[in-house]
């Protein structure tokens, strides 16, 4: 791939500047080079020969994007900034290599004390994304070839992965529907309790759940960092595992996994022979947990919850998948609960997967606005549909001393269903 291949998309940006009013990164950094218009013009400059793509300055600016798609939503020309960012990162990864894990852990983690401290508290998260259990229970191995030697053994995560806690088939009497649950890494390794809540709520509402054992990472973490070959491999594996299942729907409970299965695989696997139909079938079948539940309706009665809850729109759930109404509808339907809308519920929380590891300070200041908004809302419970957002918002509230719980939509509902206090 040549840089010039991006020109067709790049010149569609008329440089109007509308992206300035919505970009969370620009809001913090203020420099024109950090907003969509600037990044697009830097790619244009590479094509023109004015900027060296091999330079650190260019690569750094291409990394300053949360992929939150706010600019795309406000761009009347319909410039696909996320596709441009991915293409640029892919090109950089091809040209310069991508020692991701090394870069994240050694260069950023160890160099930055605050990040290192966080790394300790988030250790299991990070491992979950990039490590897999080694045979014989001796530790963890890198899940993906992301810069670490694949044979290098590192310390194990504490949590027992979700998929080892539940049976592969959760049956119910007279099921109304049968679904497959794509757990994703965060739920499997870091927040198994979300997975348990998903299964619990579905079960109570007469939905049987199949949890395919051989599912893998959806590929988003590597995809957004430009490692396309690995992402293709993971996407193919996911499609192979899920596309042919005889179920009414494939459920995701992570905004990013859902976006990958429903939207991104089509482009990612466009050149893979024999995959087009399977990708389309999977995309059509995949539904977010909240979306699916709102659609089939709740049949089981809730005990209720005394809480004041608000909702944070995950970028990948709200913008990529268009799921905004359904989670609110479910939350507001909990007896005894008061729902309060945030001022800017759809503004990115700053997590953006590995972005928050690579640019921890920046992701923190973006998150501060979210935390302020939460504090001003008077809610004691923040609900969202993305485990990554949960982790980041929790961290932010903790650091800023803002009290309150952060729950996944499924966890809130599971609580409302719990029989005794």
């Amino acid at each position: 791939m040549q840089w010039s291949e991006l020109e067709k998309e790049v010149i569609r940006c008329i440089k109007c500047g509308a992206c300035q009013s919505v970009c969370p990164v620009f809001r913090e950094l203020k420099a024109e080079s950090t907003v969509a218009r600037g990044k697009i013009n830097l790619i244009r400059a590479v094509i023109r020969g004015d900027v060296d793509a091999a330079g650190a300055g260019f690569e750094e600016r291409m990394s300053w994007c949360l992929m939150c798609k706010a600019c795309q939503e406000s761009c009347p020309s319909g410039v696909k900034l996320d596709q441009l960012m991915l293409a640029a990162r892919r090109k950089l990864a091809e040209d310069k290599g991508l020692p991701l894990l090394k870069r994240l852990i050694f260069r950023l983690g160890l160099k930055n004390r605050r990040l290192f401290d966080l790394g300790m508290s988030m250790g299991s998260v990070f491992q979950g994304l990039v490590l897999r259990p080694a045979p014989g229970g001796k530790g963890m191995l890198p899940r993906l070839p992301m810069g670490l030697d694949m044979r290098r053994l590192v310390s194990p995560v504490d949590a027992r992965p979700f998929r080892s806690r539940v049976p592969a088939v959760v049956a119910v009497d007279n099921p109304r529907k049968t679904v497959a649950f794509f757990t994703g890494c965060m739920i499997n390794y870091v927040y198994p309790q979300i997975g348990e809540a998903v299964v619990e709520v579905l079960k109570r509402n007469g939905v049987a759940v199949v949890i395919p054992a051989d599912q893998h990472c959806c590929g988003t973490p590597v995809y957004v960092n430009g490692d396309v070959p690995t992402a293709v491999e993971l996407a193919r594996a996911t499609v192979d595992t899920l596309a042919d299942l005889e179920v009414d729907a494939v459920i995701t409970a992570c905004g990013s996994c859902g976006a990958a299965l429903r939207k991104e695989y089509a482009a990612l696997l466009a050149d893979e022979p024999g995959y087009a139909a399977k990708v389309a079938a999977l995309a059509a079948k995949t539904k977010d947990f909240a979306e699916f539940l709102a659609e089939v309706g709740l049949t089981a009665e809730m005990r209720g919850l005394a809480a004041t809850a608000t909702y944070h729109d995950s970028c990948h759930l709200a913008r990529s998948q268009g799921v905004r109404r359904q989670p609110r509808q479910l939350i507001a339907g909990v007896p005894g609960l008061t729902f309060k809308e945030l001022k800017a519920p759809a503004r990115c929380c700053g997590a953006a997967g590995s972005f928050s590891l690579a640019h921890y300070d920046l992701s923190r200041s973006i998150n501060d606005h979210k935390v302020d908004d939460i504090a001003a809302s008077g809610a004691d419970t923040v609900v969202t549909g993305c485990p990554m957002c949960m982790m980041h918002i929790r961290d932010g509230m903790n650091q800023r001393g803002v009290a309150g719980e952060v729950l996944h939509t499924a966890e809130l509902l599971a609580r409302a269903y719990k029989d005794e206090k």
Partner: protein
């Protein structure tokens, strides 16, 4: 720029408010116009001053060391007016972002240059007041930039442009003096009208750091309507007829079929994609008289041949139409990647003739020109849809633009109603001003900016 000068600049604004990296500076070689300075016009530094005093100190330094200074707001201007020349210092004024005061009793407000226009409007509207200028870029453009470019907008038909609301300014002159122009009063004839001189001076005569603006009472209500035509000339004819009937609409926007189709593709709200043209009309004011005004306008539209006149039934429908209109300019970039928006303005009764001329010119040069206009004030945005990579076509575009300018001046129009001259139309300005006019302007520039520091390439 010498290291000592760079150090001095950092001493003035603080190192954290200076951008030095190549990639960062490169992103200030363009604005929202179709021109760009590229590598050849790289600024030496980009700085974000935090006060008029810092702006003053920077300009004094510039005079001492003779480097050019390019003031800039959000860079959303479409004239090429904030594009630097090599070695310049780009001065971004977005840190000056305070609404200093909103004086409800006297209906004036004082704002710093970097305040976002739409944010300011929201604040005054909370108090039942109204700041009418509404450039399409208002969600991100700055008040200082609006003053410097004398920005217009769709509401111009009834309410005029930025100039009509600026009572006074704080301006840093090119040599560094901080001056105040005008007053906080509705009337002021003390000395030359420097406020008007500075408003629309495109960053060549001074750096606007603060503005005192006039406010109006927020109109009680408004009604928005869409008149659909099967012929663009019928729509154009209707414009003058509406005013002649004694109704002054807030807005009277003309959109041709190319715009209609592409806006619909962008926002999908059910615009009539088969229509040759639509007029988007809004009236505002006392709720009791709006229905009467809508009735008169609807009657005239039908008499002039409108196939349908629709009145938005609620605020949501009206909002949708406005979202559609605001996305127009960028939406047509779906047709061809490069868009060049002209903003020739003609007397209202010459609009049909001008629309005809623009279409003939498009045919002659075999290029696509979409037409949209704040037709209510004669401001036509002939929008050339092209591809900057096609050199041969770009040559035809250039010729077509020249013919449009000549035709505009031939019917007593002006080269620009609201975008400004900038780098984009610099070479055509003598056509409108004549030799004497140019001399007068250059004399003013020379008097205020003897060393030609401020935005020197523009004059």
């Amino acid at each position: 720029m010498e290291q000592a000068v760079v150090a001095a600049v950092k001493g003035i604004v603080g190192a954290e408010h200076v951008l030095e990296k190549y990639e960062d500076r490169y992103c200030y070689t363009y604005d929202a116009s179709a021109v760009t300075a590229g590598k050849e016009g790289m600024p030496a530094l980009v700085v974000y001053p935090g006060s008029a005093a810092e702006v003053s100190a920077l300009l004094k330094l510039a005079n001492e060391h003779r480097f050019p200074v390019i003031p800039r707001g959000a860079g959303s201007n479409v004239s090429g007016g904030s594009i630097p020349c090599a070695g310049a210092l780009v001065m971004v004024l977005t840190r000056l972002n305070k609404i200093v005061a909103i004086d409800r009793k006297n209906m004036v407000a004082e704002v710093e240059a970097g305040v976002i226009t739409a944010d300011f409007q929201t604040e005054v509207e909370k108090l039942g007041l109204f700041y009418p200028p509404d450039p399409a870029s208002k969600a991100f453009s700055t008040m200082g930039g609006n003053v410097a470019e004398c920005a217009g907008g769709p509401r111009g038909a009834k309410y005029g442009v930025t100039r009509d609301y600026v009572l006074g300014l704080e301006v840093v002159l090119p040599t560094g003096e901080i001056i105040k122009t005008g007053a906080r009063t509705m009337k002021c004839v003390a000395g030359y009208d420097l406020t008007r001189l500075m408003t629309g001076s495109e960053g060549t005569l001074g750096v606007v750091t603060k503005a005192i603006v006039k406010l109006l009472p927020l109109p009680e209500a408004k009604k928005t309507m869409l008149a659909i035509f099967d012929d663009v000339e019928k729509a154009a004819e209707t414009v003058a007829q509406v005013f002649m009937a004694g109704v002054i609409p807030t807005t009277l926007e003309l959109l041709d079929n190319i715009y209609i189709r592409n806006i619909e593709a962008a926002v999908n709200i059910g615009l009539p994609v088969e229509a040759e043209a639509v007029l988007l009309i809004e009236v505002d004011g006392d709720a009791a008289v709006l229905d009467k005004q809508v009735g008169i306008i609807a009657r005239i539209c039908r008499e002039q041949g409108a196939t349908e006149v629709k009145v938005a039934k609620d605020a949501k429908e009206a909002d949708e139409l406005w979202v559609a209109r605001r996305s127009a300019f960028a939406a047509v970039s779906r047709v061809r990647p490069t868009i060049i928006g002209e903003d020739c303005t003609v007397p209202r009764d010459k609009i049909p003739e001008m629309v005809r001329t623009i279409r003939a010119i498009a045919d002659k040069y075999n290029i696509i020109i979409a037409v949209l206009g704040h037709a209510g004030d004669g401001n036509l945005h002939a929008t050339i849809l092209t591809d900057e990579r096609d050199k041969e076509e770009m040559a035809r575009v250039e010729k077509a633009a020249e013919e449009i300018f000549a035709a505009t001046l031939a019917v007593d129009g002006t080269l620009t109603g609201e975008h400004g001259i900038g780098l984009v139309k610099k070479k055509y300005l003598p056509l409108e001003l004549g030799e004497g006019g140019m001399l007068a302007m250059r004399a003013i520039k020379k008097a205020l900016d003897p060393n030609n520091i401020l935005n020197p390439e523009l004059v």
